[in-house]
Structure formats: C-alpha cells, structure tokens
Symmetry: C2
Subunit: 409 residues, 2 copies
C-alpha cells in the first residue's frame, strides 16, 4: 500500500523551491509568458531522461552533462524556439543562458539546467533572453509555480501541474510536485514534451535515476511511441533533501514507495498532455492485458493509440473496432492464437465489440453514447500471457490539421 | 538500358486476359461497381506478396495457398467488406467465392484467387455475391480492365491502371499491365492496398516470386511503413506465357529486365495511390541519398513521409523543415555526423533549407510558391554512406479527417 495524497501546487510544492514565469519577449504575443525559472535553496540531486532523436537540441546535450555531474540548483526554460539544429551558435546560446542564470543567482554555471521548446532550426533571440533572465530572477517565489507552468507552454491550452505528499516508512512526509508541457501528442512523433519534477526527499543520484527511468517508461513513453521523440524531449527531477533524515538508497522500501508515487504523478501529467492533444476532443486510454511480454503489451497499446484511423474513428464517435484490431495486428507482437476480446467503455456505458477473436453484433446507439463522452477506455485482452501496459492518446480532429498546417507562421 | 514503353490499358493489356467489373449489390450505392473478375485463357504462373498483419483476412490466407500451388486462371475481388476477423464463416465464404467462380468458368477451384477489401469484421453478403459471380462471368472482355479497376475501389477517387511493353533480349515483345486500389495511404497504417499485375511472358514461378518481392519493396512497401499493413494488403501477379518462347528463369538478363519493368509499373501505381490519398492535395516524394545502408535510407524516407507533422505542414504550404529533420532523427538510423542537406523542390522552383547540418535562411515567398504545386519532392542527403531510397506520401488535410471520422456509417 502506498500512503499518498494529492495536494495543491506544482513545481514549488516541495520545500525550498521557488519559481517564476514571465513574458520576456521571445514570443510575439505579449500575453504569453515565455521564460520560466526554478530555483532550489539547496543544491539538489538531479536525474533525467532525454530524447533519443539523432538531431537532439543543444540544451539536451548540455542537460545530460549536468545530470552526469549529479547536482543542480536552478532550471531555466524558454518557449518559442527549440534551439535545435542551430549548430555551434545553439550550443553557445545554451551556455550563455546557464551562465546568465548562474550570475544573477550567484551559483556555479554547471548548477543550472537549461531547456528550450518551440520551432526547430531558428536561433534563440538572446537579445531578449538575457535581460529576461535578469528580470525573472527578481520574481522567484514559492507561489510562482503556476507562472512557470504557463511560461513553458507552446500550443498547450492548459497548464499541467500536480503535487502529492507521501509518508515514508519512518513517518517522514515528503512532497513531490511537477509541471509539464506538450500537446502535440495527438501524433506521437510530435511537439516537444517537457516534464520537471521537484521533491524535498533526500535521495541518492543513482536511486533517483532508477526511479525516473521507471516512471518515464510507464507514463510519458506511453504517450510517445519508442524512438518517436522530438529533438527536445526532456524529463528532469530535482531532489533537494530538505525534509532531512536518512538518504533513500537503491533497493530500499522507501525507494519503491517513491518510485510508485513518481510513476503516479508522471501518469497524471502524461494524461493531462494526451487530453490537451492539439485539437483533441477525447482522451483515449488503451489498456492491453494478458500479452506475451510487457514489451508486447506496450507495443500493442501504443500502436492503437497512435493509429490515425483509430483516432479519426473516435473523433467521429464511430465504434470501428476493426481499426483497433488492425493496429494490434501490425504492432509486431507475438500472438499464438486469435482469442482477442475488446471492450470499449466510458461514463456512457460499456460494450464488448469483439470476443474470442470474432466481432460481435452490438448496440450502435449505445456505442454512440459511449463514444460521445470525453474520456474513453479501450480494453484489449490478448489472452496469451501475463503482461499488461496502458497507453494514452487522443482523437484526430479538423482542429489538429488547422493547428499544424499553420504552426510556424 | 531498359527497352520499355507505356501503352494503353491495364489488367487486360497482356495477351489472353479478360476482365469485368459490375455492381453486384454488395455496396448500397448502385453506381459503384463492387465485384471484379479477371480471367486468363491459359493457366498462369502466380506470385504474391501479402500483409504481415496478425489478423490477416480469410482471403489472404487462401491466396497464399494458391500462390504456393503455383498456378491460377482467375481472380475475383469484392469491395465493400474486407472479410477480415470474420472467423470460420469468413474462410467458408472465401472458399465459396472460389468455387462459384470455378463453376461458372469451368476451372478447378484451386485455380481461383480471391481478394476482399472494405470494412473489417463484417461478414460478406454472400446472397448478392453468388448471383453476382454468375452475372459477371458473362461480361468478361478484353476491354473490361477499367470496369474491374473501378470495382476494386473503396475510398479511391480515381482508378489506377498502367501497362507497358518490354522487348526481351531475343526480340520478343511482352506486355505487363496492372491495376491497384488504396487511398488510405495518407497514413501508412491504413486502408487496404490491392495490386494485381498480369503479363503474357513465360516465366518460372520462382523467378516471378523474386521479381514481385523486389518490386514490392521499392514501391508499395515505400508507401506503407514496414509492418504497418492492413489485414488485407495483397499484391498478385499472373503470367500466362502466351507470347511463347523460352521460359525466363532465375539469374537471367531477361529476369533483370522484367524485374526493372515490374518495379517501374509498381512505382507508377504506388504513386497514383499516394496522390489519391484520402483528402490529399499534394503528392510528396521523399528521396534519401547517401545513407549508411539501404534499410536506413528506406527507414528515414518512410519516417518523413509518415510524419503527421510533416504532412500537415505541406497541407499548410509551410516549409517547416525542422519537422523533416525531426522525423529523420527518430527513424532509428545510423548517422555518425550531422552533415545533412535538405532541398525542397517542385515545378515552382527549388530551395535548399538545410546545408551541412544547419538551417539556412531562405526566401519564404519562393518557398510558398514551391509548396503550392501539387507534386513536391524532398531531397535529403545524409552524406554518410552510399545507399538511397524513395518513399511516397501525401499531405494531411481536413478532408482526411472528414473521410475517416465517418467511414463505417
């Protein structure tokens, strides 16, 4: 049993973290915040998982180095431009952002994490970012988490924040909070996913890295098909240890507890992303059970969540389960025999559309009612093993085409 | 050098083939032909390549057996219903179609190929298919190729036909003709792809199978991402040998010539499919050169052609090359160093948007002009090897969403 409760706040919910978000002038719209800063009063242990994209952005390469060093005190993020495929100038600009933040916060440059998100291939407007960093440093506040969450948004329509308290085995109470952005999730190859988590737990770097990898694989990597990551995808965690007491190490019960909590809040943020998919009307949850392996279960779930034909069918409230089974069929999994069951459900009801490998005649009016609800679940029982996985996605709408047909201009 | 010329006609251009297409009543719209029949006056050698989908349709499993036997004299195809995920009844219905055709044409049932395309999971309306087969057999004609090409269409807006004459090393002239359907190619996980080729060449079954595999890998498999095949995808070839003379065997110059010609007409049909993608306004040709391996080149080209973000950018006439490079970056290829060049061209002109791994400032007005033309080419030079590949796709439009949001109803 996990002793966890949701609390208010996000990235500044844990002790010792302050944040701010401002409009620095990177984006044209003066109502849109475009620069975020996060600061920990104590140097924090850091962990991170990053995009596998061959053309990874300058800040990604830089953050990997910081994570390898093991500690950081600040994080600066700009939206508007991704600083990806920007050559040597891109690397220089990332280093300048780190050194400017270090200067105003009076810390070492290698204690500053840097992230960027937005259009690829355009150089950062350093002429507005540099004065922006001076301004934002004066606005750091324990209540600045929401401003920061706004500043990292690109085509997101809502901020994504979450915070929980967990009680450790010795009674200590720790807080874990986070924020994320990413709304291009309607197709998995997409817009940048950024997720930042903070906690006041004392935890070793290696334990932190184990936990973040586990959580990412069961949350953000289940809204993003393997390898289909943008040039900038980044998940970072900072643990400043301010609740004091024993350090959480690998192979401890408390690490297991922390990992479960981290996975829960990561799934919470990942679902918020999928639900805020560009042009999305429905959040789709695809659960595959009794697969031959966990990898098979994950592949099948992601193939269904990523299928344009499945996504447009849900947009049209059409219970076209043939497209679901087609996606499972090309996912590249092992399936000794077709005994598959499929059930589609929502608050509107539940219908089994396929049983023991064959389609069922079902009530089309009930199906329409089920598919008219925002949150829809597809449950696929492969009946050939003992492994499960869940993926999240959204429908594919006219609005997605409109947003992406005219993103850069 | 290949001695090849395009000629009129399609599936009945080669000697000895007759065809027909009728409205049998499978589809509601009485203007839409829904049943096609092809007949060879002499038993033909057959070759085929089929979907890898785990839930492959009943007619796919059946056609594999016929291809293994090595000869066939007829092919019957229905549109409207795919006869996929239809259990034992589906298998029985396929066998019934074969035996009904065999009966009216007075041939053995194992000499009849059967294909279906349309909605998955619904049983075939045999009550209209059986009398339809009786009717269509009376309409077989050397000029019936276009009717057959119409009858196999689903959401296709135009028929896809092609025919060529080739001159063999000893001066014999052979004809190769074909027809295809498939327009869900706007996303590769899509609607069924069917392609049927006929020729009057004498050729051995094993040489035929070698040629069809080679041609499919460079044509239809380059508009269909590996493994992302529907339950019914099928390419079949029938060679009746009516021009007489020496049989073409493996490892002959004539087989090489035939393979090249078959590849050319397969690419011709594959491009017609991509151009007729559901809701498509642009045919996109993605050529990747100087990759580390042919597989890498193919993967990169297909990743770009399949990216929803690339496709919506072309819909919006937006030269957002960052999305192109992002797709190359997640394609899972080997790229020792980023020296990539990208050029986008059409009849409207040509612009290099990326050179030696970095973005270039380019003329946005010229870019809009280039991207306003129907056929657009993206040329990607990876500069790390000697292998090339070309993929085809189309843009992603509002119309795609409309068609697929309401396909089944």
């Amino acid at each position: 049993m996990i002793n966890l409760k949701y609390v208010n706040g996000g990235i500044t919910a844990a002790k010792g973290f302050t944040a701010a978000g401002i409009h620095a002038g990177i984006r044209k719209n003066s109502d849109k915040k475009d620069l975020a800063l996060l600061f920990s009063s104590q140097p924090a242990k850091v962990g991170g998982v990053f995009t596998q994209n061959l053309y990874a952005a300058a800040p990604v390469a830089y953050c990997k180095q910081v994570v390898n060093h093991g500690t950081a005190s600040a994080l600066v993020v700009n939206s508007g431009y991704a600083n990806a495929v920007t050559g040597e100038q891109g690397t220089a600009d990332t280093l300048t952002m780190a050194s400017e933040v270090a200067h105003v916060l009076n810390i070492a440059p290698d204690q500053v994490l840097v992230c960027s998100t937005g259009v690829i291939g355009v150089k950062l407007p350093m002429a507005v970012i540099k004065p922006g960093i001076k301004t934002i440093a004066t606005k750091l506040s324990p209540s600045g988490g929401n401003d920061a969450a706004q500043a990292i948004m690109t085509t997101d329509t809502v901020t994504k924040e979450v915070a929980v308290e967990i009680t450790l085995s010795d009674g200590r109470v720790a807080t874990i909070g986070g924020m994320a952005k990413g709304s291009g999730m309607i197709h998995p190859n997409m817009a940048t996913l950024l997720c930042f988590i903070t906690t006041d737990l004392p935890i070793s770097s290696s334990a932190l890295q184990t936990a973040i990898k586990y959580a990412a694989d069961r949350s953000f990597n289940m809204v993003t098909v393997d390898g289909d990551t943008s040039t900038n995808d980044t998940m970072l965690i900072m643990a400043n240890g301010l609740i004091g007491g024993t350090m959480i190490e690998k192979n401890s019960a408390d690490l297991q507890l922390f990992t479960e909590a981290l996975t829960m809040i990561s799934i919470n943020l990942a679902k918020k992303m999928a639900a805020d998919g560009e042009g999305a009307n429905h959040l789709l949850e695809i659960e595959v059970v009794n697969a031959f392996s966990r990898e098979d279960a994950a592949r099948a779930a992601k193939a269904v969540a990523s299928s344009n034909l499945v996504k447009t069918a849900f947009f049209g409230a059409d219970a076209n389960w043939g497209r679901i089974i087609c996606a499972v069929g090309y996912a590249g999994i092992t399936l000794p025999e077709n005994k598959t069951d499929i059930t589609i459900s929502s608050e509107g009801g539940s219908i089994t559309v396929m049983q023991d490998g064959a389609g069922l005649v079902f009530d089309e009016i009930l199906a329409k009612k089920i598919l008219s609800v925002k949150d829809i679940k597809v449950f696929i029982n492969l009946k050939c093993g003992a492994f499960s996985a869940t993926a999240w996605g959204c429908d594919l709408s006219y609005e997605y085409v409109r947003i992406n047909g005219d993103y850069r201009t």
